[in-house]
């Protein structure tokens, strides 16, 4: 036998060589002094290594902490509970403080108390969401799709190429950008005096404009080929915007032409120009002047709405008063105080009014309604405090029991869903972030999959799983809360956790927010567990 290399010797010393090879080597050692001494040295090395590493076991100076079956993280659990409530209160307080402070005059319109109907940005957002699923949907979800797609590509590449995170991140982002980006417009950021665009100017990009605080108004007199996103005190659009207009201002005047839709949150919006698609506003006063024309729908939430111009499609309005003087191509839907159709008004379809009294829908002589006139009066059911009804509590008990039984089955089937490894705030933050991504990305992914005919069943399954995930999320968190509070795990802590969670989500004022946060955290834990199960063999499988 020729002398074995060091690797083989090391295997021999570790007792990891095949039996016949080991035997052969042992015989060789009898005849080769060099190899024998090498093996002896390696053996001594192993002994030394074992001795050095195990040396610390002889140190008995440290005390053994008392064993407790609690997760040992009751502090962080309490911290977590306080954190959830704290975030909810901080959110509420900060918004109250923000809007209660004396803001600079150009931000005065942000104060919801100045809005007669206190409709605010939330209503605007709701209208965004419920708008026809065409261009608006595309615009508002494009960013989310990009982010979700990037993450999906990232995970995919991690799985496929098994490269380091940094390399994969770069590749993933490049692929996502490459797939999603189209030859669209770049972004032109304009601030201060540059924000106004003179009549002679043409900007080929999407414009992000913030007005000069010292200037009285910002005027877009030129042409913008992309979208316009503008913030300021007074914004006048007298030129042409070929894309959409998104404005946040005290006063907005549109006398020019807009090729897309107008989304506006402002105190006053006056449109006397042409808007090719929709006009969607959350305002105190919206005024579509006689010369104004909207190619799509008008959707407005405001104190006062005056529609004198032409609306090609529907008019949907929530307002204290609506004066309709112009033409509406299709239906008029109104909810609020009072609606008046003057003699000059023309409605192609139905007029539906959700008003307090029959006489609050006034139709003047000469007004033309192509379809039917419907008045929806409020159903006379006394609004009782839900907390004072027996059915509320009965329902909550049923809810807890339902969650409890589901929880028993869930943890029996998938015990690893118990968030026992949430050792620090950063873990919870991570769970929240993952939960948020899941909460946003899954429905979008389902919609994208549904766009292909074959993908429809998959999309439906995904969506059902998503809803199940949202339901289970609270159970996962409740189990953790119960275990931390009772410092024990079992049936009773799970029930206790569920009771606490259900009480928390039913709290007036902040319950909804707590509910939302708990769903995010729970979804995060579930998503992480599922990902780990899919991505690699769990280390604790034995």
């Amino acid at each position: 036998m020729i002398c074995p290399n060091e690797f083989t010797c090391a295997l021999f010393v570790d007792g990891e060589l095949q039996e016949e090879d080991a035997l052969e080597l042992a015989l060789h050692l009898d005849s080769c002094k060099a190899c024998d001494s090498r093996v002896a040295a390696l053996r001594a090395e192993n002994r030394t290594l074992v001795q050095c590493l195990q040396d610390i076991d002889s140190d008995m100076s440290s005390t053994v902490p008392e064993f407790s079956t609690s997760s040992g993280r009751s502090v962080s659990a309490v911290g977590f509970a306080l954190g959830v409530i704290g975030v909810a209160i901080a959110f509420k307080l900060s918004t109250a403080l923000l809007f209660g402070l004396d803001l600079p005059v150009e931000f005065g319109w942000l104060n919801p108390r100045e809005w007669a109907l206190s409709l605010g940005v939330a209503v605007n957002a709701v209208f965004y969401a419920f708008q026809n699923a065409d261009a608006v949907f595309t615009d508002t979800t494009q960013g989310l799709i990009l982010v979700s797609f990037s993450v999906a590509v990232l995970f995919g590449m991690v799985r496929i190429f098994k490269r380091g995170a940094a390399v994969t991140s770069i590749l993933g982002v490049l692929v996502a950008i490459g797939c999603v980006s189209s030859p669209g417009y770049a972004v032109d950021l304009r601030k201060g005096p540059r924000a106004s665009i003179p009549p002679t100017d043409t900007v080929d990009d999407t414009v992000l404009a913030a007005a000069d605080p010292k200037a009285q108004s910002m005027e877009i007199a030129g042409t913008i080929k992309g979208d316009l996103i503008a913030v300021g005190d007074v914004i006048v659009i007298s030129g042409t915007v070929e894309g959409n207009v998104i404005v946040l201002a005290r006063r907005v005047e549109i006398t020019g032409t807009v090729g897309g839709s107008v989304f506006g949150a402002a105190h006053t919006i006056i449109v006397s120009g042409q808007v090719a698609r929709n006009l969607i506003t959350g305002t105190d006063t919206v005024d579509l002047s006689r010369n104004g024309a909207i190619g799509g729908n008008v959707i407005t939430a405001s104190r006062e709405a005056v529609i004198d111009g032409k609306t090609a499609r529907d008019l949907i309005s929530a307002a204290a008063t609506l004066d309709l003087r112009g033409d509406v191509g299709r239906n008029v839907s109104f909810a609020g105080g009072q609606v008046t159709l003057t003699g000059s008004s023309r409605v192609g379809g139905d007029v539906g009014a959700r008003v307090g009294k029959e006489e609050n829908l006034r139709v003047a002589e000469g007004a033309v309604i192509g379809g039917q006139k419907n008045v929806h009066l409020p159903v006379a059911t006394p609004r009782s405090n839900r907390y004072l009804t027996v059915s509320f509590y009965a329902w909550q008990v049923v809810r807890v029991l339902g969650l409890f039984v589901t929880g028993l089955v869930l943890f029996k089937l998938i015990p690893s869903l118990m968030p026992s490894s949430m050792s620090s705030g950063s873990d919870w933050l991570m769970a929240g972030a993952v939960g948020f991504m899941t909460f946003v990305a899954v429905p979008i992914a389902a919609i994208i999959i549904a766009l292909t005919f074959i993908g429809l069943p998959i999309a439906l399954i995904t969506f059902v799983l998503y809803l199940i995930g949202c339901y289970l999320a609270k159970i996962v968190i409740a189990e953790f809360v119960g275990r931390s509070v009772m410092k024990n795990s079992g049936v009773v802590p799970l029930l206790a956790g569920l009771v606490l969670v259900i009480v928390a989500v039913n709290l007036p004022w902040i319950g909804t927010l707590i509910n939302f946060l708990l769903i995010l955290l729970g979804l995060g834990v579930i998503a992480t567990t599922v990902y780990r199960r899919v991505s690699h063999r769990p280390a604790e499988a034995f």
Partner: protein, 185 residues
């Protein structure tokens, strides 16, 4: 952790407090070696005992209880290490790890160790990346076989052999450098 929601039968004559007190230090030390962080090690040791407590019914009394608990602790720590990096395959052997004939540059540790103390070896071990540190700890602190290590790390037995061999080479290099610096003094 199914125990959270069901009544379990516990092995007779097993006082977990005693088991805990007996093995805590050793589990803590194992976690320290694996995680290279005293703070994280304490949490991990606690978690390992919690898991052991919750899964007592899956313990096979034919094997030593200590081995079973160390295995839980090792698995938990390796899970933590995997979670720390986006790269899950941290113990994969790559091109640079394949065995090539010895250059003769490094001598067995025993020669180097003659003048070294255990603490220096532990420090040198701590300076290794987890890729090499973990197999070494499992092999020479936990005294597991290559087969057992390969099962825990989820890599081939031959890869374990290469990782340990390379790990020891790096350890020699680090200790050798330190010695080289100290010699002139």
């Amino acid at each position: 952790m199914v125990g959270a929601v069901e009544t379990r039968k516990q092995p007779i004559d097993l006082d977990f407090e005693v088991v805990y007190n007996m093995h805590y230090r050793r589990v803590l030390n194992l976690c320290r070696y694996l995680l290279n962080s005293p703070d994280k090690a304490e949490d991990a040791a606690h978690e390992a005992f919690l898991r052991a407590h919750a899964r007592l019914d899956s313990y096979n009394p034919a094997y030593p209880l200590s081995t079973w608990i160390f295995k839980i602790a090792s698995n938990y720590c390796i899970d933590l290490l995997r979670r720390k990096t986006a790269e899950k395959r941290i113990f994969d052997v790559d091109a640079g790890d394949h065995y090539d004939p010895p250059s003769g540059g490094s001598s067995p540790l025993s020669e180097v160790l003659a003048a070294e103390r255990g603490r220096d070896v532990r420090n040198a071990l701590g300076s290794l990346t987890e890729k090499y540190r973990v197999p070494l700890v499992l092999a020479y602190y936990n005294e597991l076989s290559y087969e057992e290590i390969s099962a825990i790390l989820g890599v081939e037995r031959s890869q374990v052999a290469v990782l340990i061999f390379r790990g020891k080479e790096y350890l020699r290099e680090r200790l050798g450098k330190r010695l080289g610096k100290e010699k002139p003094r």
